[in-house]
């Protein structure tokens, strides 16, 4: 018997978060149709989870499910690899000091006006940085909520976000 209480809680929690969920799924999968499949899968997972768990903070809770559903989906469909394969330190090293190169604020400001360029730059971020940036600036989660949703320490969230923005700035600064 499907749990009707779970269904009631589902109706309270999930529909208000669908825009956030869909947007996150779309960024992670880079595909509107995949995003729909991912959100649908996440909704099913949420429904069955709600039979046994009580949820204090629905947003990070549901977005965590969306993120995990996206990872499963991407792995199964062999699209883009969501989890970064190499050591995280490699990425950090890759990015680290290059930001110290003389900034070109003008170039950057011009590029920022170009929505397509900004979106492409975001989309090209490696997934740990992408998800952190999207959860922060698109979904509006706090650092603590991002940490909860990505099962990552807050310190890591902070450094990923800082690096995501630094990478973004660098991409926008360079010639298209």
């Amino acid at each position: 018997m499907t749990s009707l209480i779970a269904e009631r809680r589902f109706r309270e929690i999930v529909p208000p978060l669908l825009d956030d969920a869909y947007t996150l799924a779309k960024w992670l999968s880079q595909s509107p149709t995949d995003a729909e499949d991912i959100v649908q899968d996440a909704a099913l997972r949420a429904l069955s989870a709600l039979a046994t768990v009580s949820v204090d903070r629905p947003k990070p809770w549901f977005l965590a499910i969306v993120r995990n559903a996206a990872m499963t989906f991407m792995a199964r469909n062999r699209r883009k690899t969501l989890a970064y394969a190499g050591d995280m330190a490699d990425l950090d090293a890759l990015d680290a000091r290059r930001d110290d190169a003389a900034p070109n604020p003008e170039q950057e400001l011009i590029a920022m006006q170009d929505g397509e360029r900004v979106r492409q730059a975001i989309a090209s971020l490696p997934s740990p940085f992408l998800e952190t940036l999207v959860m922060r600036d698109v979904n509006g989660l706090s650092y603590r909520e991002i940490a909860e949703a990505t099962e990552t320490p807050v310190g890591t969230v902070m450094s990923r976000l800082a690096r995501a923005r630094a990478m973004l700035a660098r991409m926008l600064r360079s010639e298209p």
């Binding site: 009707l4 825009d19 729909e36 975001i122 979904n139």
Partner: protein
């Protein structure tokens, strides 16, 4: 900024931008920006970037088709049935501390409650049907309120005295754990203004509530077989001393097994009674 470490500087800039610095750190940071034009410029750059991300990568509306599919996963009860359910019994979520109780309550539902309680008033209960109807209603209400029983115990030696203190019927409590129906607790049902002991047994995620009535009570007579009232299955039988009415959200077959087990155990010499 006093810290020489560019990483730390960058983290602090971002945290300030995201409003994640505590008040004291914010004050200190604003002072640092005043004293350090390079830091202030970096802050402006970063905040322009953040604004650009927000502007060009806004939250998008989920397609209506997706919304519809997801709404269909948990359809709302029909409006006329849902309205009384929503207002009559505000669900005491915080009292569901026990995950098991939650799971139990979860196995029942709004629809059952809505039908049981909502449509109840439209009917005129009378006679045997009336008693069963009111017990079904009790069952649905107790389940939806998250309190399928008033005394929660799998130990009949706990449940029995609790019931004995509150009713005039000496409850016959049988141990059916070996048959797959462990005792979950007991509560009092009020039938025709008389408190009647009700035993609640568990079967997987389902519940069965057995109310025991004096044989001579109007409407307590045995109807035999299993009937369906408002989507719940109801079984009635009698023994030498008592009439029994069992209400459950289990399927018919499982309820029949329960009744057979209950009657069988009830006949054993070890039967609990006074």
């Amino acid at each position: 900024m006093t810290d020489r470490d560019p990483d730390e500087r960058r983290l602090k800039l971002n945290a300030a931008l995201d409003g994640e610095l505590d008040p004291m750190a914010s004050v200190a940071f604003e002072r640092e920006m005043r004293d350090d034009p390079a830091l202030a410029a970096e802050h402006r750059r970063l905040s322009a970037l953040r604004d650009a991300v927000r502007r060009h990568a806004p939250r998008e509306a989920a397609p209506q088709a997706l919304r519809d599919r997801i709404a269909a996963l948990a359809p709302a009860p029909s409006p006329q049935a849902a309205a009384p359910a929503a207002t009559a019994v505000p669900l005491p979520r915080r009292t569901w501390l026990d995950a098991r109780a939650l799971a139990l309550a979860a196995s029942l539902g709004i629809l059952g409650f809505a039908v049981g309680a909502g449509l109840m008033s439209l009917r005129a209960p009378s006679g045997a049907g009336g008693v069963a109807q009111s017990l079904v209603s009790d069952f649905a209400r107790a389940a939806i309120a998250g309190q399928p029983f008033d005394v929660a115990s799998s130990d009949r030696h706990t449940v029995k005295p609790w019931l004995a203190d509150r009713t005039t019927v000496s409850a016959s409590i049988v141990d059916l754990a070996a048959d797959g129906f462990p005792l979950a607790g007991g509560r009092i049902a009020v039938v025709g203004r008389v408190p009647a002991p009700t035993l609640v047994y568990r079967h997987n995620e389902h519940l069965v509530a057995v109310t025991e009535l004096p044989l001579d009570m109007k409407g307590a007579g045995a109807a035999g077989g299993i009937e369906t009232i408002d989507g719940y299955h109801v079984a009635r039988w009698t023994d030498a001393n008592l009439a029994f009415i069992a209400v459950s959200d289990m399927d018919e077959k499982a309820l029949a097994e329960f009744v057979a087990a209950f009657r069988h155990e009830g006949r054993q010499p070890a039967k609990e009674g006074r």
